[in-house]
């Protein structure tokens, strides 16, 4: 469906998109995940033709899109802040793409009705844009983007401005909807929860380059680099020297999975892999923080003369702040990170 070959965009000297290769298959939902300024939105703009690539190619259905103007690319784009047309009502916004394709009036009316039902706003066609809440605007923007049945639908921070409850509900609805319609989707977001819930495949970007690609599970379980690990919220990253099935770190000996390459490496220890033991049986630490997270408690441990360590435990096992505990490590929650960083 979509292929990017070495797509590059420079603003002055800075490469906002640095030879990005990316493929999106038919009916696939791909989510580009990255901090702000990583080039996510520019990626979408290049595919839509709103931004010319300085180098590289954009192919849709195998056809090079160079020289094809925005309105002939047949892609859909839902803007971050919706960009609904303020002078038209809801129905006028949704029907816009159909009108541009020259659809008959009756067909327009039918499709607008269908789409508004689908996004959960039945009968809202005559409402003015200024009377809509943020969530309703979101739905109208989605209906407007879906109306012309684009071969590729792109979403820029689709749920960015909504409150948490609505976001979690909508993300499930969206995934079901796209599955039912068979829509090919390329979304960008800075929210990993959103990306993991929505996507078949996640692409992590950093400073205009792709840092990692994989299923949500793969990326979560095996972050490819320290950047990806930290972006996903993991802070237990440490320099290590691997020998045999253990590694030397400032936190002492850490077991590593069998078959790990020997020598210098960076290790990630997931908080779930930090077990609490009596202080004489492990790395002696003082509990400095305790955050209730619902089904578990996140702990912040301070070992003597070493960086802080994050741990997780069940509520009933959680020690008080100031308690002295020991930390032990489980090999299955230890990840050796790539050196390419």
């Amino acid at each position: 469906m979509l292929r990017l070959d070495g797509a590059t965009v420079r603003f002055g000297k800075r490469a906002v998109l640095d030879s990005v290769d990316l493929e999106v298959a038919d009916h696939e939902i791909v989510c580009v995940l990255g901090p702000s300024g990583s080039g996510k939105s520019t990626l979408l703009r290049v595919v839509a033709g709103l931004q010319a690539a300085d180098a590289g190619r954009v192919l849709l259905d195998g056809r090079d899109q160079r020289g094809v103007p925005v309105h002939r690319r047949g892609v859909g784009l839902m803007f971050q802040d919706h960009q609904l047309f303020p002078q038209r009502d809801v129905g006028g916004n949704v029907a816009f793409g159909l009108r541009m394709r020259g659809a008959a009036k009756a067909e327009q009316v039918r499709r607008v009705g269908e789409l508004l039902d689908m996004v959960g706003l039945p009968g809202a066609g005559r409402r003015a844009i200024s009377t809509l809440s943020g969530g309703e605007q979101q739905r109208v923007a989605l209906a407007r983007a879906l109306a012309p049945e684009p071969k590729l639908l792109m979403l820029d921070e689709p749920l960015g401005q909504l409150d948490r409850g609505l976001r979690e509900r909508l993300v499930v609805e969206l995934r079901q909807l796209f599955g039912r319609l068979g829509t090919t989707v390329l979304a960008v977001t800075h929210d990993q929860g959103e990306a993991f819930a929505l996507a078949d495949r996640v692409v992590v970007m950093r400073e205009g380059r792709i840092a990692q690609t994989g299923t949500p599970l793969e990326v979560w379980q095996r972050p490819a680099s320290e950047f990806v690990a930290r972006f996903l919220g993991f802070d237990n990253v440490v320099a290590a020297t691997v020998s045999g099935e253990a590694a030397d770190t400032v936190w002492g000996k850490v077991p590593v999975p069998a078959g790990t390459a020997q020598g210098e490496a960076r290790l990630l220890v997931r908080p779930a892999g930090v077990r609490l033991v009596p202080s004489e049986d492990g790395l002696p630490c003082v509990v400095t923080g305790r955050t209730f997270r619902g089904h578990h408690v996140a702990l912040l441990l301070r070992p003597a003369g070493a960086p802080l360590l994050e741990a997780e435990c069940a509520l009933r096992d959680a020690p008080e702040v100031g308690a002295e505990v020991g930390a032990a490590f489980a090999a299955e929650e230890v990840v050796v990170l790539g050196a390419a960083d």
């Binding site: 033709g49 709103l50 309105h71 803007f79 802040d81 303020p86």
Partner: protein, 546 residues
Amino acid sequence: MRLGLMAVPVAFFAAFFAYPVAAIVGRGLKADGVWRFGRIGEVLADPDIRDVLWFTTWQALASTGLTLLIALPAAYVFARLDFPGKQLLRAVITVPFVLPTVVVGTAYLALLGRGGLLDELWGVRLDTTVWAILLAHVFFNYAVVVRTVGGLWSQLDPRQEEAARVLGAGRFAAWRRVTLPALVPAVAAAALMVFLFTFTSFGVVQILGGPAYSTLEVEIYRQTAQFLDLPTAAVLTLVQFVAVGAILAVHAWTVRRRESALKLVDAAQTARRPRGAGQWALLGGVLATVVLLILVPLGVLVERSLSGPGGSGFGLGYYRALQSAGAGGGTFLVPPLEAVWNSLEYALAATAIALVVGGLAAAALTRRAGRLVRGFDALLMLPLGVSAVTVGFGFLITLDRPPLDLRTSWILVPLAQALVGVPFVVRTMLPVLRAVDARLREAAAVLGASPLRAWREVDLPMVRRALLVAAGFAFAVSLGEFGATVFIARPDNPTLPVAVARLLGRAGDLNYGQAMALSTILMVVCAVALLVLERMRPDRTGSGEF
């Protein structure tokens, strides 16, 4: 794409502005095929010319300052207050702007001059002082400030000011820090227009200034038409050109630094009924100003058109006289009343030309970038500052042979009139066009709209109001254009202002009365046209304003 949009305006200005003006200047400064630039120094060394330059400048500054002082409160009232008769009042204040300068001058002469209303009542005469000129200039340009500034003001989101208030700013501080900066481009644009009009003022100064006061434009006219001293006129044209160019350059620089994407809302939602003594006092003050400054002079004009010859009683005698060609004592080949239809036809054609040329230019300038486009921005304003007399005379000597032989074509007059209409169209459209979020256009493009379609679907509905205002301005200035038209209108097809000037130029009560009657007709035509325009304006609050 951008260059394509600019092609039409550039060609228009090259053929109908640059070429005629250059030809006139060339004719004045060239003798026996040799350029005589020494003439420039000689003319400028003349103390009389220096007096003219000095007076032109300071009276323009004083007029601009006075106009802003008197009109800015009115801009606020029109933007933010809602009161019965607002549309009517808006049309009323616009009428003076479209009156021929000659008539404005005469109306003020009738008010302030010998035997005028003030003279009769209190024995006060101002016609030999500069105050008459300044007041007539305010009368004339009041609407420029109110409409330009008020138009934008009414679309500024009041919640921006509310946000500032919540952040701890006082009422005045919130206005000064939030609203004023957003208004600065509009105020600057309006002030620039007023300065240009008063700097190049012609009819008003000639009538009210007498021999004591003369602006550059009056001097150019005298040198061209009375002394046939084309070299001096050419030098003065150049001086005016350079001065105006300098003003425009400064203006372009300030505007470029300040103009930004504004948060615009529907104008109908921002106006409120007046509340509190302060707002009522302001509204009262504005109404009083409008009565004294605009209605009284216009009333005197109507009164004179209705009074019988020799001041005996009232009647429609002067109006009846307009229906026959002979009544003017051989002044006209056709009944003066036909000038009404000529004027309307010319003005409609000129408005159409100005909207196409100015609209394309504004669309091209919206996505501003590069030195070329910025230069173009300033270029569009030049016709406002260049002597209309020179342009008209230039049309006569250049557009009389192939490939542009327009001597016998009716289009000649609308072309000259459109020249002064285009800057209004651009100036009115540009701030609003630039405030349209570019991403709305992108959203339309992604949904399958070609660039042209996106402009039509997104920009046009949002700027429809500005477009109507622009059309109104273009129509008005075309209707009232005098300096250039007087040279090129054919004797059997005079426009209203030309007919008025011809009647005023002849002695006798009958001619004077007919001039007043014709001016009154022009005033009514303009008022009706503007009222229609005001009604066409999309207004969601609907009726109930009258």
